[in-house]
Every structure is written in structure tokens, then in C-alpha cells.
């Protein structure tokens, strides 16, 4: 596998998925939900792209569409210069070697009736990564790579804690020596101290193995720590994307601002400055016309209800989908200093000797 330093590892164009929500008596669909609605993304080798958004905005679905664990309704996914959606089942299975998935809940993602050794040697066997005689040794090495011991191979998942299970899940993902790992909220189910350890592990593995991550999360402080670029999703669409520092320090989209404002910070006076979002997320069954955010946006104008705003380049790398992005005042004062979670930062330092 040759590396292409400039060419993107993954390119997603117009990717969408509609689920049937209601059917009539004859089984014909009468209502559909556009869980993911025309997503464009690019991921370079060794890069971490975070996808953030509220629950139900379609970020997990997007991760599964990219891996084709869910069949997309429209769009295109090009991974390692292969059209993922044109692959037949056998070719798709071979392709899985290069792209892996880590789940949110480590209690559900490991088969309770397989030992850790079985779980880790299965991918080695399926993709013939090492000869059969070396598999046990490789399983031991994988366990060490994620901070467990080779002796743990004989145990069952229920004998491990949540953090340890997530390490096992990570070991399974790196077993096939992939290029891309989609991390679906990998630390959301873990408590804060374990979270820091697992984030460190992911960072270390990225440095060692040259991995690219798509990091799905609703936790912006975690995103700040791990991601290079970030894409903000709202109701199935990306509303803003760019380098983490740009997006977090100079958010352009009103929704991104609201998300950043929602991070709790120990600064009592700041509460006066922010305007909380009104209302709830609209039902995806019946999303608003034009810009999906228009029903809750403080800067709404007539055009927002009529046309979907296109992604507009703000700077070379930072783009935003908003009709009003020119006229919205540039920055809120308090923003930019708040996104780092000092507690998480300290914990990451504490668990990192270097």
C-alpha cells in the first residue's frame, strides 16, 4: 500500500441516507427521515477529523455510511482510491482491513462468549495478517500495545472494566493494521480519568502507526484535545468545518457558537454574555425548509427559509454553511479561552510521563 502524501485518504461527496419512518398498509414508504443529508468530507493521512453535534444529528450514521456498514442512499465514498460503494461483498470485506470502527459502549461491542484471544485473533485470521503459528504472539503484542498484558488473552470480556474493554476494542481495531479508524464516541461511556488514558492511547497509536481518525463526539473539550479539524453537524448536514483552532476560536455559524457557549465553564460573569438557544431540535421527520437551523437561529433572515445555504470558504480551510456569515459579528469575547477542559488537561498530563 503506497502512501499519497497529498491525496486524501478518504473523500466523501454528497453522502446521504434516508430511513423509512412510516409505511402504509401495502408496505410503501410514506415518510422518510434524512438522517444524513448530502455530506462532503475529506480526510488526509494521519489526520484526525472530529465530527461534533447533538444526539440524533446523524453523526454515528455518517460514520457507518463511510464504512458502508449502512448502505448509503446517495453520494460517493472514495477510500484509498477505491469507490467504496461499487465494491462487491467480497471486495468490501477485504477493504475492511484498511478501515476500522471503535464503538461507544465497550460493554456491548465485545462478544461475551469469545475470549479476548479469540476476539483479537479473528481479524488476524480473516485478513491473514500473520501466519497461524504467530497469531498468539501477535495477540500478546497487541494487548501490550494497548496497555494490557498478554496473559489477558485467555479471559472473557465480562472480567474487565470499562476502560480495559475499550482498550481491547482498540486492540481489535488496530489488529488489521488499518489506515483509518472511525471512533464513534470512544470515550463517552468512560469516566473522566479513564477518558484521559484512552485519549492518550489513541494519540500514541496514531503517532506510532500513522493512523487517521474520524472522531465522532459530542464532547467539545475532548475534540479540542484530539482533533486536527472539526466538522459541526446539525440535523444531518455539516454546517461548519475547519481546523479545530479556527472553528473553536472564531466560529462562524450561529449553531457552532451556541454549541461552544453551552460548554460549562467556571466563570460566573460569562453567563450574562451568552444567549442560550431557544427551542428544541426540530423533528428530522419534518425538518425546516432552507437552512435547518433557521427555526432557532438568532440571525435568521427571509432567505434562510427558502434556500439551503451552500458551504462557503471563509478562509482557505475554514468553511461555513450560512447565508448570514458575512454580517454576523466576528467573535464573542469570552470564547476561545474556554474550550480546553483544564481538568481533562491535567489528567492527561498526569497519565502521560513524557
Amino acid at each position: 500500500m503506497t502512501q499519497h502524501p497529498v491525496a486524501p485518504l478518504l473523500k466523501v461527496e454528497g453522502l446521504g441516507k434516508s430511513f423509512v419512518a412510516k409505511r402504509n398498509f401495502f408496505g410503501r414508504p410514506t415518510a422518510t427521515v434524512r438522517a444524513v443529508d448530502g455530506i462532503d468530507l475529506e480526510l488526509k493521512p494521519r489526520e484526525t477529523l472530529a465530527i461534533v453535534g447533538e444526539s440524533g444529528c446523524g453523526k454515528s450514521t455518517l460514520g457507518r455510511l463511510i464504512l458502508r456498514l449502512i448502505e448509503p442512499s446517495q453520494g460517493q465514498v472514495t477510500f484509498l482510491e477505491n469507490d467504496m460503494l461499487a465494491l462487491d461483498p467480497t471486495a468490501l470485506r477485504d477493504m475492511r482491513r484498511w478501515a476500522q470502527l471503535i464503538f461507544q459502549d465497550p460493554f456491548a461491542s465485545l462478544n461475551p462468549r469469545m475470549t479476548v484471544g479469540d476476539l483479537l485473533s479473528e481479524p488476524l485470521m480473516l485478513h491473514n495478517i500473520v501466519p497461524e503459528t504467530e497469531r498468539t504472539a501477535r495477540v500478546g503484542k497487541l494487548l501490550q500495545q494497548v496497555g494490557l498484558k498478554p496473559e489477558h488473552a485467555g479471559r472473557y470480556p465480562h472480567e474487565f472494566s470499562g476502560g480495559q474493554r475499550q482498550r481491547i476494542a482498540i486492540a481489535r481495531a488496530i489488529a488489521v493494521e488499518p489506515q483509518l479508524i472511525v471512533c464513534d464516541e470512544p470515550v463517552s461511556a468512560l469516566d473522566v480519568s479513564i477518558r484521559a488514558q484512552v485519549l492518550n492511547l489513541l494519540k500514541d497509536l496514531q503517532a506510532q502507526l500513522g493512523l487517521s481518525y474520524i472522531f465522532i463526539s459530542h464532547d467539545l473539550s475532548v475534540v479540542r484535545h484530539i482533533a486536527d479539524r472539526v466538522a459541526v453537524m446539525y440535523l444531518g448536514r455539516i454546517v461548519e468545518t475547519g481546523p479545530v483552532t479556527d472553528v473553536f476560536d472564531h466560529p462562524r455559524h450561529p449553531y457552532t457558537r451556541a454549541l461552544l457557549d453551552a460548554i460549562p465553564v467556571p466563570t460566573p460573569h460569562r453567563m450574562k454574555e451568552i444567549v442560550p438557544l431557544e427551542g428544541d431540535v426540530p423533528s428530522p421527520l419534518n425538518p425546516p425548509s432552507g437552512c435547518h437551523f433557521q427555526t432557532r437561529c438568532p440571525f435568521v433572515v427571509a432567505r434562510c427559509a427558502q434556500e439551503r445555504p451552500p458551504m462557503t470558504l471563509k478562509t482557505e480551510t475554514h468553511s461555513v454553511a450560512c447565508w448570514q456569515h458575512q454580517s454576523i459579528p466576528d467573535d464573542h469575547q469570552a470564547r476561545g479561552k474556554v474550550d480546553y477542559d483544564p481538568r481533562l488537561e491535567r489528567l492527561m498530563q498526569a497519565f502521560n510521563p513524557t
Binding site: S109, V146, V176, D204, L205, P353, T354
Partner: protein, 294 residues
């Protein structure tokens, strides 16, 4: 920056207990299930070693000993052609127990793959298999078994096949339902993401998780199948004379219920004991394999 160093050591307050060992430990805590298991093993041993244990030839007739009450010579008495009942009950265990187990084996062999297919593939496959099992379940168990056995012709082997086919829908349904529940689990999606082919997901990832429920249902169905074999034999559709099975023994005893009740009592008792033991074992297994119970 080394990965090993960046993570703290892993504490190991953990036990080395496989799911099998755990189930066995829990089963041992249930006396009724343990007794039932012991009796079943005893019955199976009795059937296997029938030629060595049986005091007489089970098919040798003796017209000097017709319908004798239990005595020291014939512990369970003799039947209408002077055959020793104890010998016949011991030999009858072979037919009855093997009918119970083999027919359940047949039902598992057909039912589990169909259930897995219906549950995992869904769509038309599921609709076809499910409608067919629904249709079969609409007929009463015994009526269907009798019809099938009559169609296949009277013999023990055909009775087993008939009972097996009749019991199949139970296993199709159970496997399908469990598969539907398990296939939505994250670890099945993980298995797909790692690149498992469909058949491997079904056999290596779903089936082991369905197995506990199947095991419980199988022991319960063995009991049903033993009764079904007895019923078919009673109607002359199972074990053929002169070879004994508990059901065929009951069949010949019915004409002498008033003057030779022992002819019916012993095979009836044998059926009763084996059925209740399989039921108790099934109940015990269900509790032992349930992860929610302690």
C-alpha cells in the same frame, strides 16, 4: 512516547471463569436439577447396557407365565404373552430415550439453520420461513406427528422423523427471535466491521449466543418427544412389536388394565420419571444460563 508507559498497570481482581464453568457452578446449586441430571444419566446408562442388565430376554414369550403379578422371579410381573416386564422396561428405554433425543436432534438440525437464516437475512427469506412455521404451529403437535408418521409408515425410525419435523417450528421460532435480538448488538456490527463473512457471523457470533436458550428448549422438548413417541407407539405407529418401547407397552396393557394393572404401571412410571427429569433439568439450565441470575 511509549504506549506501555503511558498507561497505568492493569489491576486484576478478576476470576478465570468461563461461561461454561459458571453455568455448571450455578446448576450445582440447584438440587432438583442435579437429581434430574443424575436420573437421566442413570436412564441413559440403563438403555446403553440393557443387554447386560436385563434379567430376561425382552421378546421371549412364555405361555406358562402369562400376566403374572410382580414376584421375586419377575420383579415387575409379566405381560400377556409371558414376557418379563422389567426386561421390557429396560430395553424400552432404548427406544423411548433415543426417540426423544434423536427427534430433538433432527428438530435442531433443521430448525436452527432455518431460524438463523430467517432472523439474520430477514426480508423474503424470513417471510417464507416464518409463514411456513406458523402454518405448522397452527396444527396441534400430536395430530401433525400422527399424520406424518402415518404418511411415512409405521416404524420407530419414521416416528422419530415425524416427531422431529413436528418439533422443528419451535426451534425455528426460538432461533429466529433470538437472532433478531442479537443481530442488533454492537458486537455483531463489530464482527461485520472486522470483515467477517455472513456465514461466520451467523455460526461464530450469533449461534453461541443463542445456544443457551436452545439447550433449555431442547431438554424440554425431549420430554415432549418421549411422550409423543409413547403416543405414536400406543397407536401402533412407533416401535413395532415384538420390540418394546414404553409407549407400545402401554398400548398392549390397555386391554388388561383391570386384571393386570402392573402391565401399565411400570412403563407409565418410566415415562413419568424421564419426562419430569428432563423438565426439571431444563428449568435448572434456564436458571443457570441466565446471566441476570446470580
Amino acid at each position: 512516547m511509549s504506549t506501555q508507559a503511558s498507561t497505568p498497570m492493569v489491576s486484576s481482581p478478576l476470576t478465570l471463569e468461563s461461561p461454561g464453568a459458571r453455568a455448571w457452578r450455578r446448576l450445582k446449586a440447584r438440587p432438583s436439577a442435579l437429581v434430574a441430571l443424575a436420573v437421566i444419566i442413570l436412564l441413559i446408562l440403563m438403555a446403553v447396557f440393557a443387554p447386560m442388565i436385563a434379567p430376561y430376554d425382552p421378546i421371549k414369550q412364555n405361555y406358562l407365565l402369562v400376566r403374572k403379578a410382580p414376584s421375586w422371579l419377575h420383579w415387575m410381573g409379566t405381560d400377556e404373552v409371558g414376557r418379563d416386564l422389567l426386561a421390557r422396561v429396560i430395553w424400552g428405554a432404548r427406544a423411548s430415550l433415543s426417540a426423544g433425543m434423536i427427534s430433538v436432534g433432527i428438530a435442531l438440525l433443521i430448525g436452527v439453520p432455518l431460524g438463523l437464516m430467517a432472523g439474520y437475512r430477514g426480508g423474503w427469506t424470513d417471510a417464507l420461513i416464518s409463514r411456513f412455521t406458523d402454518a405448522m404451529l397452527a396444527c396441534p403437535f400430536l395430530i401433525l406427528a400422527i399424520a406424518l408418521a402415518a404418511f411415512l409408515g409405521p416404524s420407530l425410525g419414521n416416528a422419530m422423523i415425524a416427531i422431529g419435523i413436528t418439533a422443528t417450528p419451535i426451534f425455528v421460532r426460538l432461533t429466529r427471535g433470538q437472532t433478531l435480538a442479537i443481530k442488533t448488538e454492537d458486537y455483531i456490527e463489530a464482527a461485520r466491521a472486522v470483515g467477517n463473512p455472513v456465514h461466520r457471523i451467523a455460526l461464530r457470533h450469533i449461534l453461541p449466543n443463542v445456544l443457551p436458550s436452545l439447550l433449555v428448549q431442547a431438554t424440554l422438548t425431549v420430554a415432549t418427544a418421549i411422550i409423543a413417541e409413547a403416543s405414536l407407539s400406543f397407536l401402533g405407529l412407533g416401535q413395532q412389536p415384538p420390540l418394546p418401547s414404553w409407549g407400545s407397552m402401554l398400548n398392549s396393557a390397555q386391554r388388561f388394565l383391570t386384571n393386570a394393572p402392573w402391565m401399565a404401571v411400570w412403563p407409565g412410571l418410566a415415562i413419568f420419571v424421564s419426562v419430569i427429569c428432563f423438565n426439571l433439568l431444563g428449568d435448572g439450565l434456564r436458571d443457570a444460563l441466565d446471566p441476570r441470575s446470580k
